[in-house]
Amino acid sequence: MGKPTRVTNSIRALRFAHGEMTQQELAERIGVTRQTVIAIEQGRYSPTLETAFLIARVFAVPLEEVFQYPEEHA
């Protein structure tokens, strides 16, 4: 079974670039459980738009730097 979403993300890299922030710390700052942060990082869950914006705000970057969606090829 493939991943349930085509959305990819750079959360893991961003966490390490921000003082090796732990998944638990990120979870607490955006108001979700650590399991949810793990699921988002692994592409097993697409967060709500609100949570996506909260993650981007934690890392002080635009949303597109956190989440990416593959280009459609005609």
Binding site: P4, V32, T33, Q35, A39, Q42, G43, Y45
Partner: protein
């Protein structure tokens, strides 16, 4: 494993164990006139109440130990819960056709009540399995 995933596992186990125990109890005590003549109401009520109590007690016990025990329900938990209940609704809607047809054909109450109970049990099991798969594989 989150607390809510553990609860989904508990629901799945209870949704299998209790109906099987109920069926065995009915078969063991079946009268000579056939199983449809058996006194099923008492055991069925005991099975339904027992399953509710088991779920509550096991859920409380599971919530007292292990990682994630103190974590509140978040958006992913709510989304997974909705998905499970949504699928369970369709399972029960389809399963409910059986007791409906049995009632129209004026079948014995035993078969109508037990096909309803089977539908409830199936819906509970499928709901739990959907939630577990969603937690494990994503959705």
């Amino acid at each position: 494993m989150s607390n809510l995933e553990r609860r989904a596992w508990i629901y799945a186990v209870v949704a299998v164990v209790v109906p099987v125990a109920y069926a065995v109890a009915l078969l063991v005590r079946a009268p000579a006139g056939g199983i449809a003549a058996s006194h099923y109401a008492g055991p069925m009520v005991a099975a339904v109440v027992g399953a509710i109590v088991l779920n509550i007690v096991a859920g409380i016990v599971a919530g007292m130990w292990g990682p994630g025990r103190a974590e509140p329900r978040d958006e992913r938990d709510r989304a997974i819960d909705r998905l499970g209940e949504y699928v369970a609704f369709y399972v029960f809607s389809i399963a409910a056709v059986v007791p409906l047809v049995l009632a129209m054909r004026e079948a014995p109450y035993f078969w109508i009540a037990n096909s309803l109970y089977l539908g409830f049990s199936l819906a509970a099991l499928v709901s739990s399995v959907v939630k577990i798969v969603a937690y494990r594989r994503g959705f």
